[in-house]
């Protein structure tokens, strides 16, 4: 359940300690000005010393074969500090490859993912639908454009979804454009293909694998959301303890206390939903709807409870806020997931 095993606790502590040293607010702001929008040195350390990219990869392909809950631990820590890193794209690609179960492709690609090679899946269409893909196939050549591709312009391994199947495409021949989003701590790109050859991975109808991979991706993302929400609330509580008005810390005013108490209740419920999704006892759609809205609420309240300082560039509040809205839309909005879940229970 919520309690971590000893290894999981060690993993969490290792990631948290590293990020505490090398990914504080100043470091994050420096990282987003890097060419790829993240700190490649930090990513290398995360991969080499802690092995975060190997977690979601099976042992026989050079990975650790950890469960979804263990992968969540890393995402939650990265979410807390808003550290930009190609972890989520890596998790999505690994999940898709594992689900496709194509021995050749796995032997070729998964070891590279496990070693920290940046991977991306070009999947969503312009309307932000993570469905059967955004490309058309004719004579094994792919044409179309995918949007909201996590780490898409950085990837050295590029998978694309077309007509419910998955293809490997040479990143060098894809038109890839970094999309400037409000969430500066997340790298998104548009991937355009114009009659580009692709190498199919897995079956011609890979919808089942796509569904499973989307679930895995969502499970990872909700942990990141819970991490960001937890940090946003901690920062806010800390601020209201030291900020004085009318001669008292503003955190002693009952109306503000009660608002933060409600946020804490919301956070706890979101945490439960995220962890339960990892263990399969709650539908990932439920967790995505719940955690997205919890983070949006908490980040919005973070802005309001900080007062004027929150709408300055120097303060981190707006970064959490933008992450909240960016990740709510990523992999399908709360509304999409709510409807998806409605079709399951009704």
């Amino acid at each position: 359940m919520i309690e971590l095993s000893d290894e999981q606790r060690s993993l969490r502590d290792a990631v948290r300690t590293l990020l505490g040293k090398r990914s504080d607010s100043t470091a994050v702001r420096r990282a987003i000005t890097e060419p790829g929008g993240y700190d490649p040195t930090l990513w290398r350390v995360l991969c080499e010393q802690i092995g975060v990219a190997a977690l979601a990869v099976p042992e026989r392909f050079g990975g650790v074969g950890a469960d979804r809950r263990t992968v969540q631990i890393v995402l939650e820590e990265l979410g807390r500090t808003l550290t930009p890193a190609p972890m989520l794209g890596s998790v999505i690609a690994a999940a898709l490859l594992v689900a496709l179960d194509d021995a050749d492709a796995n032997a070729r690609l998964l070891p590279r993912v496990a070693a920290g090679g940046v991977a991306a899946v070009a999947w969503a269409d312009a309307n932000g639908r993570w469905g059967d893909g955004a490309f058309e196939v004719a004579d094994d050549q792919l044409t179309g454009a995918a949007h909201f591709v996590v780490d898409g312009d950085l990837a050295e391994i590029l998978l694309v979804v077309a007509d419910g199947a998955v293809y490997e495409v040479d990143p060098a021949v894809a038109g890839r454009t970094h999309t400037p989003t409000m969430d500066l701590t997340r790298r998104l790109a548009r991937v355009r293909l114009d009659a580009v050859p692709g190498r199919r991975i897995g079956p011609a109808d890979a919808r089942a694998a796509l569904g499973a991979a989307l679930d895995d991706a969502v499970v990872a993302l909700v942990a990141e959301q819970v991490g960001a929400a937890g940090a946003a609330l901690e920062i806010t509580v800390g601020y209201t303890k030291v900020r004085h008005q009318f001669g008292r810390p503003i955190g002693s005013f009952q109306a503000l206390k009660h608002r933060m108490a409600d946020l804490h209740v919301l956070l706890e419920a979101a945490r439960c939903a995220a962890y339960a999704a990892a263990e399969g006892s709650v539908h990932p759609a439920v967790a995505k709807a719940y955690c997205s809205e919890a983070l949006q609420t908490i980040a919005g309240e973070m802005i309001q409870l900080h007062g004027g300082i929150a709408i300055t560039w120097e303060h981190d509040a707006h970064l959490y806020f933008k992450r909240a809205h960016g990740s709510a839309a990523l992999l399908g909005s709360p509304a999409v997931h709510r409807r998806r879940f409605a079709s399951v229970i009704e």
Binding site: M1, Q254, E346
Partner: protein, 370 residues
């Protein structure tokens, strides 16, 4: 995060599930007939040793683990079995007895409680002391061999038809606030006690006022030390098997009924709220199970119980509001959901108002200044 059930617990669950197939539908326990029927149902439960599963065997239980207790509760709600007329005793008084009672008190009081031969009412609130128990004015004056209790208690659940009651009285009249209080158990049929039912919204006296006028209580019915009543009462106020950890099965069952109601609804604005209610019920269930696991692993339940209270009470209101909106004009005809809604609205009130729970969360969990 489902409860991991070992073989023994699975067998227990199957036994409970099988037994509850015969669970009857009873009239409201706030009517004389309904009260008698609920008492009889408790006898049936007790005969199967299912009335107080977590208690030691010698008092009528079966030494069930906390996980088994939660399993029992989940099954009980899923089966829509009758409300527990003995809930004040088994959820509120018994934990305090286990913590502070003498061996004699345990032997005398627990077995008849387990069979509902004695049904208990709580006598916490007073007209001038709602959620603020420290404002208690009822007093206990020492006399030979015991005490004389006087004063007025209100919002006493079940008191109209119950046999006995428990509550705090001011035994040191010079002391203030939460000092000088003592925890007493007393007979509702004793000389000097009169009980007046308070009609609730459905017209039935689920609550009552209790008037006490020099009611004699022997020393052996003092629970804990004289003057130590506040600490005794508070030690189990966030009791894990009481109201603070309300069985999530109740809300999951209500959410399922809501899903049924919405089956033909094409209005996404409404079906979204149904999904939200379902998600909320599930989130509360997960949170409760996580708490149970933590307690099983040796943790203590403290201020976190306030989270549960805030969550279920707000959820209950949302569940009923959604149902009424689904029913539309039909909901206006007197129906279960409407009554349920009114009681749901009372949820944020009893067992400590949500305003107080928010203070607890803010101060004790978030460390915000007073």
């Amino acid at each position: 995060m489902d409860l991991d059930l070992d073989e023994q617990t699975t067998a227990f669950r199957d036994e409970v599930r099988e037994f509850l197939r015969v669970a009857p539908r009873l009239p409201s326990m706030d009517t004389p007939d309904g009260f008698a029927a609920h008492r009889a149902w408790e006898h049936t439960l007790a005969d199967a040793r299912l009335s107080v599963v977590s208690w030691p065997r010698e008092f009528g239980g079966r030494d069930a683990s906390l996980t088994q207790w939660v399993v029992f509760e989940e099954e009980y709600y899923a089966a829509q079995a009758p409300l527990r007329v003995s809930q004040n005793g088994i959820f509120l008084l018994a934990p305090t007895l286990f913590a502070h009672g003498t061996p004699d008190q345990l032997r005398r009081i627990l077995p008849p409680m387990a069979r509902a031969d004695e049904v208990w009412a709580q006598a916490w609130s007073e007209p001038e002391a709602g959620s603020d128990l420290a404002g208690i004015r009822s007093r206990a004056v020492p006399t030979e061999g015991g005490w004389l209790l006087s004063g007025q208690k209100t919002w006493s659940t079940r008191a109209t038809y119950a046999d006995r009651a428990f509550g705090l009285f001011r035994s040191d009249l010079a002391a203030e606030r939460h000092h000088g209080l003592t925890y007493f158990m007393f007979d509702l049929h004793a000389d000097g006690v009169s009980v007046r039912g308070i009609s609730q919204l459905d017209g039935e006296p689920g609550f009552a006022e209790i008037f006490l006028d020099d009611v004699f209580v022997p020393d052996r019915d003092v629970l804990g030390e004289v003057g130590d009543g506040w600490r005794v009462a508070m030690s189990t106020a966030s009791n894990e098997r009481g109201l603070s950890l309300r069985s999530p099965g109740r809300f999951v069952a209500a959410a399922c009924r809501l899903v049924d109601l919405s089956r033909d609804c094409a209005d996404t604005a409404l079906t979204d709220r149904v999904v939200d209610a379902w998600i909320g019920a599930r989130a509360y269930q997960l949170h409760t199970w996580a708490t149970v696991t933590r307690l099983t692993d040796g943790g203590r339940l403290g201020a976190e119980s306030s989270i549960g209270k805030l969550f279920w009470s707000e959820l209950d209101v949302a569940l009923h509001e959604t149902a009424l909106d689904l029913l539309g004009a039909d909901g206006e005809l007197a129906g279960d959901w409407m009554s349920g809604y009114l009681f749901a609205l009372a949820g944020p009130i009893y067992a400590g108002t949500n305003e107080i729970q928010r203070n607890v969360v803010a101060e004790r969990l978030l460390g915000l200044p007073r």
